[in-house]
Protein backbone atom coordinates (compact mmCIF):
# COMPACT_ATOMS: atom_id res chain seq x y z
CA UNK A 1 0.00 0.00 0.00
CA UNK A 2 1.94 2.97 1.26
CA UNK A 3 5.25 1.18 0.63
CA UNK A 4 5.01 1.99 -3.06
CA UNK A 5 4.70 5.63 -2.13
CA UNK A 6 7.50 5.87 0.37
CA UNK A 7 9.95 3.95 -1.83
CA UNK A 8 11.27 7.18 -3.27
CA UNK A 9 14.19 7.04 -5.71
CA UNK A 10 13.59 10.64 -6.69
CA UNK A 11 13.23 12.73 -3.59
CA UNK A 12 9.97 14.67 -3.73
CA UNK A 13 10.37 18.33 -2.93
CA UNK A 14 7.39 18.27 -0.56
CA UNK A 15 7.81 16.94 2.93
CA UNK A 16 4.20 15.84 3.16
CA UNK A 17 4.74 12.28 2.02
CA UNK A 18 7.36 11.83 4.71
CA UNK A 19 4.96 12.71 7.44
CA UNK A 20 3.90 9.16 8.20
CA UNK A 21 1.23 10.03 10.67
CA UNK A 22 -0.44 12.47 8.34
CA UNK A 23 -0.24 10.11 5.39
CA UNK A 24 -1.50 7.16 7.35
CA UNK A 25 -4.43 9.11 8.75
CA UNK A 26 -5.22 10.42 5.31
CA UNK A 27 -5.15 6.94 3.82
CA UNK A 28 -7.48 5.63 6.51
CA UNK A 29 -9.88 8.51 6.06
CA UNK A 30 -9.97 7.91 2.32
CA UNK A 31 -10.41 4.20 2.74
CA UNK A 32 -13.32 4.57 5.13
CA UNK A 33 -14.93 6.98 2.76
CA UNK A 34 -14.31 4.80 -0.29
CA UNK A 35 -15.57 1.59 1.31
CA UNK A 36 -18.77 3.24 2.40
CA UNK A 37 -19.31 4.65 -1.06
CA UNK A 38 -18.57 1.60 -3.22
CA UNK A 39 -19.26 -1.08 -0.60
CA UNK A 40 -16.36 -3.19 -1.82
CA UNK A 41 -13.07 -3.24 0.00
CA UNK A 42 -10.88 -4.32 -2.93
CA UNK A 43 -12.30 -1.69 -5.28
CA UNK A 44 -12.00 0.90 -2.54
CA UNK A 45 -8.34 0.01 -1.88
CA UNK A 46 -7.53 0.33 -5.57
CA UNK A 47 -9.21 3.70 -5.85
CA UNK A 48 -7.41 5.02 -2.77
CA UNK A 49 -4.07 3.76 -4.03
CA UNK A 50 -4.60 5.36 -7.44
CA UNK A 51 -5.51 8.65 -5.85
CA UNK A 52 -2.47 8.56 -3.56
CA UNK A 53 -0.25 7.76 -6.50
CA UNK A 54 -1.50 10.71 -8.51
CA UNK A 55 -0.94 12.92 -5.51
CA UNK A 56 2.60 11.60 -5.21
CA UNK A 57 3.28 12.32 -8.85
CA UNK A 58 2.09 15.87 -8.38
CA UNK A 59 3.72 16.45 -5.04
CA UNK A 60 5.41 19.66 -6.19
CA UNK A 61 2.06 21.40 -6.23
CA UNK A 62 1.42 21.09 -2.55
CA UNK A 63 2.98 22.85 0.34
CA UNK A 64 0.15 22.50 2.81
CA UNK A 65 -1.54 19.39 4.16
CA UNK A 66 -4.96 20.89 3.49
CA UNK A 67 -4.16 21.48 -0.18
CA UNK A 68 -2.95 17.94 -0.68
CA UNK A 69 -5.97 16.55 1.10
CA UNK A 70 -8.48 18.49 -0.97
CA UNK A 71 -6.75 17.55 -4.17
CA UNK A 72 -6.24 13.88 -3.48
CA UNK A 73 -9.78 13.69 -2.30
CA UNK A 74 -11.19 15.22 -5.48
CA UNK A 75 -9.35 12.52 -7.43
CA UNK A 76 -10.66 9.80 -5.18
CA UNK A 77 -14.20 11.08 -5.53
CA UNK A 78 -14.00 10.91 -9.33
CA UNK A 79 -12.62 7.41 -9.19
CA UNK A 80 -15.43 6.32 -6.93
CA UNK A 81 -18.02 7.84 -9.24
CA UNK A 82 -16.48 5.92 -12.16
CA UNK A 83 -16.69 2.71 -10.18
CA UNK A 84 -20.30 3.34 -9.23
CA UNK A 85 -21.18 4.16 -12.83
CA UNK A 86 -19.51 1.03 -14.11
CA UNK A 87 -21.46 -1.00 -11.64
CA UNK A 88 -24.63 0.78 -12.69
CA UNK A 89 -25.35 1.50 -9.09
CA UNK A 90 -25.12 5.20 -9.67
CA UNK A 91 -28.62 5.50 -11.07
CA UNK A 92 -30.02 3.48 -8.21
CA UNK A 93 -28.36 5.82 -5.75
CA UNK A 94 -29.98 8.83 -7.44
CA UNK A 95 -33.39 7.23 -7.24
CA UNK A 96 -32.87 6.60 -3.56
CA UNK A 97 -31.93 10.23 -3.09
CA UNK A 98 -35.16 11.44 -4.65
CA UNK A 99 -37.12 9.59 -2.03
CA UNK A 100 -34.91 10.94 0.71
CA UNK A 101 -36.58 14.29 1.25
CA UNK A 102 -39.89 12.57 1.81
CA UNK A 103 -38.34 10.43 4.50
CA UNK A 104 -36.90 13.54 6.09
CA UNK A 105 -40.36 15.05 6.36
CA UNK A 106 -41.58 11.83 7.92
CA UNK A 107 -38.68 11.82 10.38
CA UNK A 108 -39.30 15.43 11.34
CA UNK A 109 -43.02 14.69 11.85
CA UNK A 110 -42.02 11.75 13.97
CA UNK A 111 -39.61 13.73 16.15
CA UNK A 112 -41.47 16.99 16.58
CA UNK A 113 -45.01 18.07 17.41
CA UNK A 114 -47.04 20.17 15.00
CA UNK A 115 -45.94 23.36 16.70
CA UNK A 116 -42.29 22.45 16.31
CA UNK A 117 -41.35 21.14 19.74
CA UNK A 118 -39.86 17.77 20.64
CA UNK A 119 -42.29 14.88 21.05
CA UNK A 120 -42.08 13.76 24.65
CA UNK A 121 -40.76 10.27 23.77
CA UNK A 122 -38.25 11.57 21.29
CA UNK A 123 -36.42 14.09 23.44
CA UNK A 124 -32.66 13.56 23.10
CA UNK A 125 -31.16 11.50 25.90
CA UNK A 126 -27.81 11.80 27.54
CA UNK A 127 -25.25 9.69 25.67
CA UNK A 128 -22.70 7.68 27.55
CA UNK A 129 -19.54 7.10 25.57
CA UNK A 130 -18.58 3.50 24.85
CA UNK A 131 -15.73 2.68 27.20
CA UNK A 132 -14.63 -0.93 26.97
CA UNK A 133 -13.12 -2.30 23.80
CA UNK A 134 -15.67 -5.10 23.41
CA UNK A 135 -18.38 -2.55 23.73
CA UNK A 136 -16.57 -0.36 21.23
CA UNK A 137 -16.45 -3.03 18.57
CA UNK A 138 -20.15 -3.45 18.88
CA UNK A 139 -20.62 0.31 18.87
CA UNK A 140 -18.62 0.77 15.68
CA UNK A 141 -20.63 -1.92 13.96
CA UNK A 142 -23.80 -0.04 14.78
CA UNK A 143 -22.22 3.21 13.67
CA UNK A 144 -21.33 1.56 10.35
CA UNK A 145 -24.86 0.35 9.89
CA UNK A 146 -26.27 3.77 10.68
CA UNK A 147 -23.93 5.40 8.15
CA UNK A 148 -24.90 2.87 5.52
CA UNK A 149 -28.55 3.57 6.15
CA UNK A 150 -28.12 7.22 5.12
CA UNK A 151 -29.04 8.23 1.58
CA UNK A 152 -25.86 8.15 -0.56
CA UNK A 153 -25.67 11.91 -0.97
CA UNK A 154 -26.07 12.49 2.75
CA UNK A 155 -23.34 10.09 3.74
CA UNK A 156 -20.99 11.47 1.09
CA UNK A 157 -21.38 15.05 2.30
CA UNK A 158 -21.32 14.03 5.94
CA UNK A 159 -18.12 12.07 5.46
CA UNK A 160 -16.46 14.88 3.54
CA UNK A 161 -17.23 17.19 6.41
CA UNK A 162 -16.65 14.94 9.41
CA UNK A 163 -14.21 12.25 8.26
CA UNK A 164 -12.11 14.26 5.87
CA UNK A 165 -12.66 17.45 7.81
CA UNK A 166 -12.94 19.51 4.65
CA UNK A 167 -14.29 22.99 5.17
CA UNK A 168 -17.72 23.81 3.85
CA UNK A 169 -16.54 26.04 0.99
CA UNK A 170 -14.34 23.30 -0.37
CA UNK A 171 -17.22 20.84 -0.26
CA UNK A 172 -19.57 23.27 -2.00
CA UNK A 173 -17.02 23.87 -4.76
CA UNK A 174 -16.27 20.20 -5.24
CA UNK A 175 -19.83 18.99 -5.10
CA UNK A 176 -21.49 21.97 -6.76
CA UNK A 177 -24.01 22.47 -4.01
CA UNK A 178 -25.01 25.76 -2.42
CA UNK A 179 -24.00 26.55 1.15
CA UNK A 180 -27.58 26.41 2.37
CA UNK A 181 -28.17 23.12 0.58
CA UNK A 182 -25.06 21.70 2.23
CA UNK A 183 -26.09 22.98 5.65
CA UNK A 184 -29.52 21.42 5.32
CA UNK A 185 -28.14 18.12 4.07
CA UNK A 186 -25.63 17.95 6.92
CA UNK A 187 -28.38 18.74 9.40
CA UNK A 188 -30.57 15.96 8.02
CA UNK A 189 -27.68 13.51 7.96
CA UNK A 190 -26.88 14.28 11.61
CA UNK A 191 -30.52 14.14 12.59
CA UNK A 192 -30.81 10.65 11.12
CA UNK A 193 -27.50 9.46 12.50
CA UNK A 194 -28.32 10.55 16.00
CA UNK A 195 -31.76 8.98 15.76
CA UNK A 196 -30.23 5.73 14.55
CA UNK A 197 -27.56 5.73 17.28
CA UNK A 198 -30.03 6.59 19.97
CA UNK A 199 -32.44 3.84 18.90
CA UNK A 200 -29.81 1.16 18.37
CA UNK A 201 -27.07 1.90 20.82
CA UNK A 202 -27.63 4.44 23.51
CA UNK A 203 -31.15 3.38 24.31
CA UNK A 204 -30.39 -0.36 24.19
CA UNK A 205 -27.49 0.34 26.52
CA UNK A 206 -29.83 1.81 29.11
CA UNK A 207 -32.16 -1.16 28.84
CA UNK A 208 -29.53 -3.79 29.57
Amino acid sequence: MTQALSRSDKQPSGQLFHNNEFMNDLRLQMLKFAILQVRNEALAEDAVQDAMLSAYQNIDRFNRQAALKTWVFAILKNKLIDILRKEKRYTNASILEEGASLNDEALIDHLFTENGHWQKDERPQKWDEPVHSVESKHFWRIFDTCLEALPAKYSRLFMMREFLELDTNEICDNEEVTVSNLNTTLFRARLRLRECLEDNWFQGENNT
Binding site: M1, F112, H117, F158
Partner: protein
Protein backbone atom coordinates in the same frame (compact mmCIF):
# COMPACT_ATOMS: atom_id res chain seq x y z
CA UNK B 1 -39.64 32.12 20.77
CA UNK B 2 -37.69 29.90 18.43
CA UNK B 3 -39.09 26.39 17.84
CA UNK B 4 -37.13 23.21 18.56
CA UNK B 5 -37.10 22.43 14.83
CA UNK B 6 -35.27 25.71 14.16
CA UNK B 7 -33.02 25.38 17.20
CA UNK B 8 -31.87 21.88 16.20
CA UNK B 9 -31.03 23.06 12.69
CA UNK B 10 -28.94 25.91 14.10
CA UNK B 11 -27.23 23.56 16.54
CA UNK B 12 -26.13 21.53 13.52
CA UNK B 13 -25.19 24.55 11.39
CA UNK B 14 -23.10 25.89 14.24
CA UNK B 15 -20.63 23.13 13.37
CA UNK B 16 -20.35 24.33 9.78
CA UNK B 17 -20.59 28.10 9.84
CA UNK B 18 -20.34 30.95 12.34
CA UNK B 19 -23.80 31.97 13.54
CA UNK B 20 -24.88 35.61 13.39
CA UNK B 21 -25.27 37.51 16.65
CA UNK B 22 -29.02 37.40 16.32
CA UNK B 23 -28.99 33.65 15.75
CA UNK B 24 -26.68 33.17 18.72
CA UNK B 25 -28.94 35.19 20.94
CA UNK B 26 -32.14 33.42 19.90
CA UNK B 27 -30.50 30.04 20.16
CA UNK B 28 -29.06 30.91 23.56
CA UNK B 29 -32.49 31.88 24.87
CA UNK B 30 -34.02 28.71 23.48
CA UNK B 31 -31.44 26.30 24.85
CA UNK B 32 -31.50 28.01 28.23
CA UNK B 33 -35.12 26.98 28.53
CA UNK B 34 -35.15 23.73 26.56
CA UNK B 35 -33.18 20.79 28.03
CA UNK B 36 -34.00 18.59 25.02
CA UNK B 37 -32.30 20.95 22.58
CA UNK B 38 -29.42 21.41 24.99
CA UNK B 39 -28.94 17.66 24.92
CA UNK B 40 -29.27 17.69 21.15
CA UNK B 41 -26.46 20.24 20.98
CA UNK B 42 -24.22 17.96 23.05
CA UNK B 43 -25.07 15.05 20.78
CA UNK B 44 -24.03 17.07 17.73
CA UNK B 45 -20.61 17.58 19.32
CA UNK B 46 -20.45 13.89 20.23
CA UNK B 47 -21.22 12.94 16.64
CA UNK B 48 -18.27 14.98 15.48
CA UNK B 49 -16.04 13.42 18.10
CA UNK B 50 -17.28 9.90 17.30
CA UNK B 51 -16.67 10.47 13.56
CA UNK B 52 -13.10 11.49 14.17
CA UNK B 53 -12.45 8.46 16.33
CA UNK B 54 -14.22 6.21 13.85
CA UNK B 55 -11.78 7.16 11.13
CA UNK B 56 -8.81 6.29 13.32
CA UNK B 57 -10.01 3.14 15.02
CA UNK B 58 -9.85 0.88 11.97
CA UNK B 59 -6.07 0.68 11.98
CA UNK B 60 -6.02 -0.69 15.49
CA UNK B 61 -8.84 -3.16 15.25
CA UNK B 62 -9.64 -4.61 11.84
CA UNK B 63 -6.61 -3.67 9.76
CA UNK B 64 -3.14 -5.14 9.87
CA UNK B 65 -1.90 -1.84 11.23
CA UNK B 66 1.26 -1.43 9.16
CA UNK B 67 2.06 2.21 8.74
Amino acid sequence: MMKCTQATQLLSEKLDRPLSNKEKMNLGIHTAMCPACRQFGKQMLSLRDISQRYVKQSDREEKDGNA
